[in-house]
């Protein structure tokens, strides 16, 4: 069911197929497309920011527009690009890795995607209506966010609320999938690291997002319904927002980084032809990082005035994260040690990641030292740090994963030459852009500055940074060309292009829509490798060939999401005129009606008959 194959059926049918699909592999395509689109949008915003900061006292864009630009860049990249791209990879790979035919809740999977997509679209409508995009930073600190004029922040609240609900569903779905649907023999301690990372990340999503949900509700009530959570005159307290936001947003950082730790673990082992070094330690390090991730949120608030006791506790807790992270870095190195390393595009991104992320992690420890942070906080040092982590970690990881699993997802192999060119341009551009920013911060340039003044020693650094950003942009353009080239005339992928170790490489590329004709029997860590070493080269089935139960497609997830989005517009504009309440009722009505249909109409799915499967085998 590659894109090329479905194309022949006409565009309408193709579109309908994707809108109603509940197949995790197609939903993965949707996530990658949606996330990719927003990644380009966020990248464009980044370029505008860098052009504005190329020279001192520049007026390429106005101060108000600049604040909208930084807010949307951050919000888009975190919520609408990085996370969906990761969720797409998890959807594409995790069920295959654990030997499942689909996820636990295919319907919810589709609903999660459409909520994310509609939430993202709603948020970006703020550019065109309601007086401009949100402008209070992606952190939306109250009371700047409660006092921000126009509807920008309203779009932020509703857009994130809707897409956040989608993400939460994705998390619950993956958790249930991994608990109940692992193939026979696939014990927890035999799961590939990427599936482990998906599991832990889903736990983080589950426990972190509700804090954001609550924060957004409070902000929404303050802005739209006159409550006083952040209104100091009525006894409100603006620090509550910061706590709720960071209780969510710190784990969010780990939601972004843990999946790519999984990606790098799988890629390193496969392309070094070696078993992952210290598998158990890697799993427990992931769990420990996730656990500590919930204990450290106030390190974003060292300058708020929480007092020396709180600052000290959070400083020490933060530093403790260095230990499990260090274990991971050294275990990756040890995996490669003694191996036989193939350096292709996927491995290049992995190799680029190690020094880049090490720098990002180390500046993280430097930031954890509270008193030093009094200088770093809210400066370009912090900007440099989190871009080293999120670009040098997450984006590098997504690129590695795309090159690694592209054949499995789309049935074609990305062009190696262009892949390598993309890497080198992006890698050099990345370090050029962000390394100097450490120094800009310490030299007195706070973040979110629309202009920096002349004669403050900041000109050269900013210029270098802008040049680097352009290199990254060129790298991304070449990657896009590569995608189109591969789609049009890339090499067809074999089932197992990289001499893989885990289950996804045991089935064809792309996999049939039911994944596994017979549920596989897992006989150890790296099940495919185990079979290869025993000279069989294919997986032992755990069951005789039989009927396969499949879920039905449904348009309801799309309609539910559409309903909530309409209601979102209604909530935003009912402040201006109560007639817009009609949209609220209509939208929620549509959503509830669709939910009711879903719950009243029995949907037992369908079965692929045994005979049909046998016929396909011929």
């Amino acid at each position: 069911m590659s894109i090329a194959a479905t194309q022949k059926r006409g565009f309408g049918a193709f579109l309908w197929d994707y809108i109603t699909t509940v197949d995790h592999k197609k939903i993965a395509h949707l996530y990658l497309f949606g996330g990719g689109f927003f990644f380009l949008l966020g990248g464009l915003e980044a370029m505008i920011i860098r052009i504005q900061l190329a020279t001192p006292e520049n007026d390429f864009i106005s101060a108000g527009l600049y604040n909208e630009m930084i807010t949307m860049h951050g919000t888009t990249m975190i919520f609408l690009a990085a996370m969906p791209l990761l969720l797409g990879l998890m959807n594409a790979v995790m069920p295959l890795q654990i030997g499942a035919r689909d996820v636990a809740f295919p319907f919810l999977n589709s609903l999660g995607f459409w909520l994310f997509m509609f939430g993202g679209i709603l948020l970006n409508f703020s550019w065109f209506m309601g007086g401009g995009a949100p402008d209070a930073g992606w952190t939306a600190y109250a009371p700047l966010s409660t006092q921000s004029p126009g509807h920008g922040v309203d779009f932020y609240v509703l857009g994130l609320q809707i897409s956040g609900a989608g993400t939460l569903m994705g998390g619950i779905n993956f958790l249930a999938t991994i608990v109940t649907m692992r193939a026979p023999g696939m014990t927890y301690m035999r799961m590939p690291l990427f599936s482990w990372a998906t599991f832990i990340t889903s736990v983080l999503i589950l426990f972190a997002f509700p804090a954001l949900t609550v924060g957004l509700f409070l902000l929404m009530f303050d802005r739209m319904f006159g409550s006083a959570f952040f209104d100091v005159a009525l006894g409100g307290n603006t620090i509550i927002w910061q706590h709720l936001f960071w209780i969510f947003a710190h784990p969010e950082v780990y939601i972004l980084i843990l999946p790519v730790f999984g990606v790098f673990s799988d890629i390193t082992a496969t392309l070094s032809k070696k078993r992952l070094f210290g598998y158990t330690a890697m799993v427990f390090a992931t769990i420990l990082i996730a656990f500590l991730g919930f204990m450290v949120w106030a390190h974003h608030m060292f300058t708020v005035g929480l007092g020396p006791v709180a600052n000290s506790i959070f400083a020490i807790a933060t530093m403790a994260i260095a230990v499990p992270t260090g274990i991971k870095i050294f275990n990756w190195l040890a995996t490669m040690w003694g191996g036989s390393i193939t350096i292709n595009s996927a491995m290049l991104w992995t190799l680029g990641f190690i020094p880049s992320f090490t720098i990002g992690g180390m500046t993280g420890i430097m930031l954890a030292s509270a008193v030093a942070d009094y200088q770093y906080h809210d400066t370009y040092f912090v900007v440099a740090h989190f871009h080293y982590v999120i670009v040098g970690g997450t984006v590098f990881g997504i690129m590695a994963a795309l090159h690694f699993w592209w054949p499995k997802m789309f049935g074609r192999i990305l062009h190696e030459g262009m892949g390598k060119l993309t890497f080198w341009l992006f890698f050099v551009g990345f370090h050029l852009t962000f390394f100097v920013q450490h120094f800009l911060g310490l030299m007195g340039m706070p973040r979110r500055y629309w202009v920096f003044l002349e004669d403050q020693g900041l000109d050269t650094g900013n210029m270098v940074s802008t040049i680097g950003a352009f290199l990254m942009a060129v790298g991304v353009v070449i990657f896009l060309i590569n995608v189109f080239y591969t789609w049009a005339k890339g090499n067809k992928a074999p089932a197992d292009p990289w001499d893989g170790r885990s289950l996804e490489w045991a089935i064809s590329s792309p996999p049939p829509y039911y994944n596994f004709k017979q549920t596989p029997l897992v006989r150890g860590l790296d099940p495919l490798w185990v079979e290869k070493m025993e000279g069989k080269g294919e997986i032992t089935p755990a069951e005789p060939l039989g009927d396969i139960h499949m879920p039905n497609s449904s348009i309801l997830p799309f309609l539910i999401s559409l309903g909530f989005t309409i209601a979102g517009f209604g909530f935003i504009f009912q402040v201006d005129h109560s007639a817009y309440l009609i949209l609220v009722f209509a939208g929620i009505g549509l959503a509830l009606l669709s939910m009711l249909i879903r719950s009243l109409k029995d949907d037992h799915g369908y079965h692929i008959k045994k005979e049909e499967l046998e016929r396909e085998a011929d």
Partner: protein, 351 residues
């Protein structure tokens, strides 16, 4: 391949060189050349943590380089299958224990410094100043001395000056990189920190928490002078006579216009407590107009005629009738005569 790779390398090296030439930044702004107690505490930790981290980074890079040189797949190795190693208790223990030791090495001085900088027990004997953050300017109230000023904060060198900070609107953050780290200025609770400058000079202060469109223009200065000069300045400010008539006719016109246009409803000159806009008592001594413009008459006239274009989102725009260039010129003339002390940013060394 080699050709463009080489070009990137040289570009990279060139820009690194340029960066080194630019040095550590502007002397009275950068945190890298500390001129005060807080900045020094931070700098010590920055150096300590950098040394530790560079040490770790070098080890990682060493192993990484060896791996890349020795273990790349070579020609003729296509069928080679390396030994499948499960792990090593010893090695993994080593790279668990060593980071723990390093982290403790950093944690202990961090905690000590955190408590040291939060110590306000001696504030009763020190100088206490109330700082109020406004969109987009800073107000400084010398409460015990019973006068106020804005934008330029005068402090004596070598003494602990406790600033008690509160915001009138959104959250700001008070940062003088050369003298001390930053602290947030919240609307609901007073935050206190102390400044202790080691050297005389005029230091840039910045707002470090996004507070609206002109966040990047919300600069202020700290003017560190000798204790004697500071006493002199305080007494000059206390004795300032706001009613004093200017000498020349243009400035007298300006004063009349200032009153006609009801500027005092926002701006205090002398003891009037109004604090919607900056206190103008010693306006002529300001190191900068609107926080960042050279203190020339042309800039002041521009500001008076169209503040929005110079500081987007400021609260002065539209709060007074439009001024003709002539009127603005007279008011500027008047304002630029508002000085009461010999102790000025210039006498402290200038910006």
């Amino acid at each position: 391949m080699k050709g463009w790779m080489g070009k990137f390398k040289s570009l990279f090296l060139l820009s690194m060189l340029a960066l080194v030439l630019a040095g550590c930044g502007k002397e009275n702004l950068t945190a890298l050349v500390p001129k005060g107690y807080g900045a020094e505490s931070s700098m010590n930790l920055i150096i300590l943590s950098t040394v530790i981290m560079v040490f770790v980074f070098l080890i990682v890079i060493l192993v990484y380089t060896i791996v890349l040189i020795r273990f790349r797949r070579k020609k003729g190795q296509e069928g080679y299958i390396p030994k499948q190693v499960e792990g090593s208790k010893t090695l993994e223990t080593v790279w668990t224990i060593i980071p723990i030791i390093l982290v403790v090495t950093l944690a202990v001085p961090t905690v000590a410094a955190t408590f040291d900088l939060a110590d306000e027990s001696a504030s009763a004997d020190g100088i206490n100043i109330e700082v109020t953050g406004h969109q987009y300017w800073w107000h400084f109230n010398y409460e015990e001395e019973e006068f106020a000023t804005s934008q330029d904060l005068y402090i004596p060198v070598g003494e602990r000056v406790y600033v008690h900070m509160l915001s009138s609107d959104v959250i700001h953050s008070f940062w003088v990189p050369s003298i001390a780290g930053k602290m947030d200025v919240n609307p609901e609770n007073v935050n206190t920190m102390y400044l202790e400058a080691h050297e005389e000079g005029v230091y840039w202060g910045k707002c470090a928490e996004l507070c609206g469109p002109s966040h990047s223009l919300m600069d202020f200065k700290v003017i560190a002078v000798s204790p004697e000069e500071y006493d002199q300045w305080v007494s000059d400010m206390q004795n300032a006579d706001p009613e004093e008539e200017p000498q020349d006719a243009v400035a007298q016109d300006g004063k009349a216009l200032f009153e006609e246009n009801n500027c005092m409803s926002c701006h205090a000159i002398g003891s009037a407590p109004s604090a919607v806009g900056p206190d103008l008592t010693n306006f002529a001594n300001r190191s900068r107009i609107a926080g960042y413009l050279e203190p020339t008459k042309e800039n002041l006239v521009d500001w008076l005629m169209d503040p929005e274009s110079l500081k987007p989102g400021n609260k002065m725009t539209g709060a007074y009738p439009a001024l003709s260039e002539e009127e603005a010129d007279s008011i500027a003339e008047y304002l630029l005569q508002l000085e009461h002390s010999e102790i000025t940013p210039e006498s402290a060394g200038g910006l």
